[in-house]
Symmetry: C2
Subunit: 303 residues, 2 copies
């Protein structure tokens, strides 16, 4: 934490924006929930919230914006700060960073919601001290952020780990998947919406011994095995509404271990997989705290 600095954080979601002012998990001074309507209206309320907090707590040093995607998070790109074509009506090609910068003369750091959550876990959660790890959220949709060799991974645009291909055994699972782009990709088979569509009820209503859970563990474990083999992370953190279900994690750990089958010669995988695949340190608070972690990182870089 930079001495005296105060940060603004925006968790921009498809149904709500959560905004907060503070310096970390033990120091959130104000927080608000704003329904996601039009970009103009939502950003106006966001701006009003931060302006009000500045009159109470003093100047905000930087604002972190962890946003639903797809987005352009590359500061060198002309479209930096823009939401790319999205099914969310009215938000396609809107530059949300530019709208904020019209009101605030501070750095606005823009990234994906999952990269924000990864940064939060690096700062205060289960990513502390690590150089390379993955944050995966399995909720309504599925997304992943990666911190790689000490930096958030963006690359060409940003990872879209929720859409990797997984093995689909049609005899065990005749559900065709719900992804409008890929049908039965990982998100298409294992997201909260996929579970609800397949079984006719929400995941939270399904008993722990329901067949849904072994299937869910299978798909998540396949994805985790592939991320492990591709990115070589030191840990994989799994959050989100579905991902946080407590009886699911041990099944994912066991099945990932089976799939890797001793090939990665690291004790953390061979002998301690329960420390390799974990829940987030800060549970479901990762969103807006991730935005604050992005804001903090941005100010530190400029110092």
């Amino acid at each position: 934490m930079t001495a005296g600095a105060l940060y603004g954080g925006i968790e921009g979601g498809g149904t709500k924006f959560i905004c907060a002012v503070g310096t970390g998990p033990d120091d959130i001074r104000a927080e608000i929930l704003i329904p996601t309507t039009s970009p103009e209206e939502t950003l106006k309320q966001t701006t009003r919230f931060f302006k009000l907090q500045e009159t109470r707590f003093g100047e905000i040093s930087s604002i972190g914006f962890a946003c639903f995607g797809p987005v352009d998070p590359n500061p060198a790109s002309p479209a930096y700060g823009q939401i790319l074509p999205t099914p969310k009506p009215g938000w396609s090609n809107v530059n949300v960073v530019r709208m904020l910068c019209d009101s605030f003369d501070v750095p606005v750091i823009f990234d994906t919601d999952v990269n924000g959550a990864a940064m939060e876990e690096w700062r205060w959660g289960k990513g502390q001290g690590l150089q390379t790890f993955v944050y995966l959220t399995v909720g309504t949709g599925i997304g992943g952020g990666a911190y790689v060799e000490g930096k958030l991974l963006h690359g060409l645009i940003h990872p879209e780990m929720g859409h990797i291909l997984v093995r689909h055994d049609w005899e065990k699972d005749s559900f065709k998947g719900i992804c409008p782009f890929h049908g039965d990709c990982f998100e298409g088979l294992a997201s909260g919406i996929a579970i609800e569509t397949r079984w006719g009820m929400r995941g939270t209503s399904l008993a722990p011994d329901h067949a849904a859970w072994d299937l869910e563990a299978e798909y998540i474990a396949q994805a985790v095995a592939n991320y492990t083999l591709t990115l070589s992370p030191q840990r994989i953190i799994i959050g989100g509404g579905v991902g946080s279900v407590s009886h699911l994690l041990p099944r994912v750990q066991k099945r990932t271990w089976e799939l890797i089958n001793g090939y990665i010669q690291s004790t953390v995988i061979l002998e301690n997989i329960e420390t390799y695949i974990v829940h987030p340190g800060l549970g479901n608070r990762s969103g807006v705290l991730g935005a604050i972690a992005l804001a903090e990182k941005a100010v530190q870089k400029r110092l």
Copy 2:
């Protein structure tokens, strides 16, 4: 290139070591091929080669060692420079860097063969100017190296991209795969050995219209799609004996484009996939030049 500096490179393979002294693709002053026998004998010949070249060309500034795996390439690890348990008789748990350092008082930079190839392409080939890309070799085996946000990716140990799970349609391909760990993982289904075992002849002997090639393109495209979604690379470079087959590349490009199905909103994928999935700039010279690129990078870091 650091003025006046001369580099040593070792491409350590399971059947041969190629060693060279020089500064880059246009300035290789000496090169030798040494059969891979016992570690002691092989390293002794390697050392003798470099000592001899030093009497001809002057002192070597650093040595890059791009090695068959699995290896420990983490300089902070006590096992840095070690070959991890491997089927290659006599080489398991041998610390090849320590053996070299006994003879040379210069930095020895040790990495996987594919990370070396990635560094070579970054320095002189198709990775020039990129921040994030993947180098994939499809040959006897399959391996991948990644340069991510300006650094070679190591993470927990190093990527093992050849072993990701791919979709295996048993009706189209009844071959059960040759990977001793995973059976029908990517390498198990699509490596040079897999092709030879499945069809009873080497890939190079199969006509371009043989059914092998659409199958091969399918598996490579699945892997490339998954790397793209996970790592968000700006380019994927495909080399190796099988990967370099000229009629294969357009099929891989087409099929990857179909699998991603417009989801990644980048013109390089949507409209120019032939610039996204490419052959290496330096073809099959990437091995030993990769080692020289590693050596060069190491010296520059110390300056």
